[in-house]
Amino acid sequence: MHLLGLYHYWVFAVLLMIGFYAVIAKPNLIKKLIGLSLFQSAVFLLYITMGKVEGGTAPILQAGAENPLYSNPLPQVLILTAIVVGISTMALGLGIVVRIKEEYGSIEEHDIQEIDRQ
């Protein structure tokens, strides 16, 4: 039961590994980027779940609420930044894939290696 109680860590670990597998194993550059995106999203989940306090509310001052229990807002703020970084990486990665397609006519890793070898 102890292991099930930590289910959000399992989600994090499984998602991380699925993404990582796709990055390593898939020869298609777009699929690699999708894997990379999954990989990063898993880390976002790790941060967001750690900030949740059981029974805690949003950290906003409310009139009349005596000693309310707040969730930790900092991990969410951090991950907002990390999401922006992730989007920029994805945009740049896709941009490079478009350029690769223009230059090589393919987005399969082994095709590109084959063309470079000639």
Partner: protein, 497 residues
């Protein structure tokens, strides 16, 4: 009256970061170049002012928005970060001064302002990592620097840069994400992101699993960024196909900044608190460092493309830097930090000389530079001086750091002797691959039907010689890098039991 010197750590990042959008607005490439170079010179001046302050015993701590640490973000400059700032801003300034002529051949005029914008962003990110004292802030700077350098590398005319940069993007992002997982786990256990605060709070939870896992993730993630063998596979192609001046800039400082962070994190946060961590650190890094030296130099021996040869040599040099750090001793860490500085000087000067060759020769293979010294004696002269420094001939900067590294290794007892043999073997291999270039340029007849070459443009040549002479100067008068790196080693080992 504002006290300017107090704001220097913040200005170090703010100047290049705010100049970047301004440069983008300038439509003329000459103006854009002038503005970017001025911004880079200005940050170099700030780095010099900070280093002089640090040498005088001043400490720089800056609270962003006047929020006290650990709640606010803190910036701090000590001897270690000052040395790195000198490297980053110095390399950027020299490369930009040399860039005009070389870039005109590689990048269309209308795209040049955008290129300089990316350059300044890379500079801001690389300079931000040493000044920041906040683990998450460092992640953001790391990604700014990385994204901007992907753009810089893929900016050249060679299409092979694109798959190379894609590989770099994938591996760099995995490295940065590993680092993010690591600091996430530490934050989970300690509730802080400030490095100094983390060091104090981690003690109570140091023997718990998440901290160990975090140490693993952070070490591997940063090792990826630092191109530690066998995680270096992104480096050779990225350096080879990037525009030449970009290679000068990135080869001199981007892996060094990652090593800086690896050392700072490990010696500040993990070494003082994790039981047995120093032994693991040594046993993990020392074999990798030895393999990097042997295999990196070995591959460089057989490379026929000049830039790829020097890139593999960089893999080997990262090995020397880590070897010193893996001793976890004052002498070893001093040698390691000193070699960061001296290798950046030597490799920067070498790649500048290669840039000179590239402006005149048809290619950068050993055959295409055959006989080049006859028509470009100054370029090849600078190459030889920087090459001697890379090998570690007495009188050059490279000798000073190899010598301190060897004396640190000798203090290690039995394994030390074997390590000295590895260092000497690595240097001999460096002698051979530098000699192959010298042989081609001085003693081979040029290919038939090739128009005679001319000496490189004067501005480029002047910058190349300035870098080459710096190798001689810091070889004969090494007091500045030695005092900074021994102060850095003392800071790093201050809390290590």
């Amino acid at each position: 009256m504002i006290e300017w010197s107090h704001h220097l750590p913040a200005l170090q990042v703010v100047v290049p970061m705010l100049s970047a959008p301004l440069v983008m607005l300038l439509r003329s490439r000459g103006l854009a170049w002038a503005a970017a170079t001025t911004a880079s010179l200005f940050s170099f001046a700030i780095a010099i002012a900070l280093s002089l302050g640090v040498l005088d015993g001043e400490t720089f701590n800056y609270r962003m928005g006047d929020w006290p640490a650990p709640y606010g973000i803190e910036l701090g400059v000590d001897a270690f970060s000052a040395l790195l700032l000198l490297l980053v801003t110095g390399a950027s300034t020299l490369a930009l001064l040399a860039a005009r002529h070389s870039l005109d051949a590689e990048i269309e005029a209308e795209r040049q302002p955008l290129f300089y914008t990316a350059w300044l962003l890379a500079l801001a990110g690389l300079a931000g990592i040493p000044v920041s004292a906040d683990a998450f802030n460092i992640f953001v700077f790391m990604e700014i620097a990385a994204l901007a350098s992907y753009v810089l590398i893929s900016g050249g005319p060679d299409r092979r840069a694109l798959p190379a940069v894609f590989k770099y993007l994938i591996m760099g992002t995995i490295g940065a994400t590993f680092y993010l997982i690591g600091i996430g786990l530490i934050y989970l256990m300690t509730g802080t992101l400030n490095l100094a605060d983390m060091e104090l709070r981690i003690h109570a939870v140091a023997d718990l699993k998440p901290i160990l896992v975090a140490a693993g993730f952070i070490t591997i993630g940063l090792a990826l960024k630092a191109a530690v063998f066998p995680l270096h596979v992104w480096l050779p192609s990225a350096y080879t196909y990037a525009p030449n001046v970009v290679t000068v800039f990135l080869a001199a400082c981007s892996t060094k900044v990652a090593i800086y962070l690896l050392l700072r994190f490990d010696f500040f946060v993990f070494q003082p608190n994790l039981v047995g961590h120093d032994v693991q650190f040594t046993y993990f890094l020392m074999p990798l460092a030895v393999l990097a030296i042997l295999i990196g130099s070995g591959v460089a021996l057989f490379e026929r493309n000049l830039k790829r040869m020097l890139a593999y040599s960089s893999v080997a040099q990262v090995g020397y830097i880590l070897l010193g750090a893996s001793f976890v001793s004052l002498a070893g860490v001093t040698a390691s930090v000193l070699h960061m500085f001296n290798h950046a000087l030597a490799k920067g000067a070498l790649f500048l000389a290669v840039t000179c060759l590239a402006t005149r020769c048809s290619g950068l293979r050993l055959d295409s530079i055959a006989g080049a010294a006859r028509h470009m004696p100054w370029t090849m002269g600078a190459f030889v001086v920087a090459g001697l420094s890379l090998i570690g001939i007495p009188g050059t900067a490279g000798f000073v750091s190899k010598w301190t590294l060897i004396s640190a290794a000798l203090a290690e007892g039995a394994t030390g002797g074997a390590l000295v043999a590895v260092i000497v073997l690595g240097s001999l291999m460096a002698l051979i691959y530098i000699w192959r270039v010298v042989e081609a340029a001085y003693f081979k007849a040029p290919e038939k039907g090739v128009a005679p070459l001319r000496e490189a443009p004067p501005m480029l040549l002047a910058v190349t010689w300035a870098a080459a002479l710096a190798n001689l100067y810091f070889g004969l008068v090494p007091s500045l890098p030695i005092s900074l790196s021994s102060a850095a080693a003392e800071i790093l080992l201050r809390h290590v039991p």
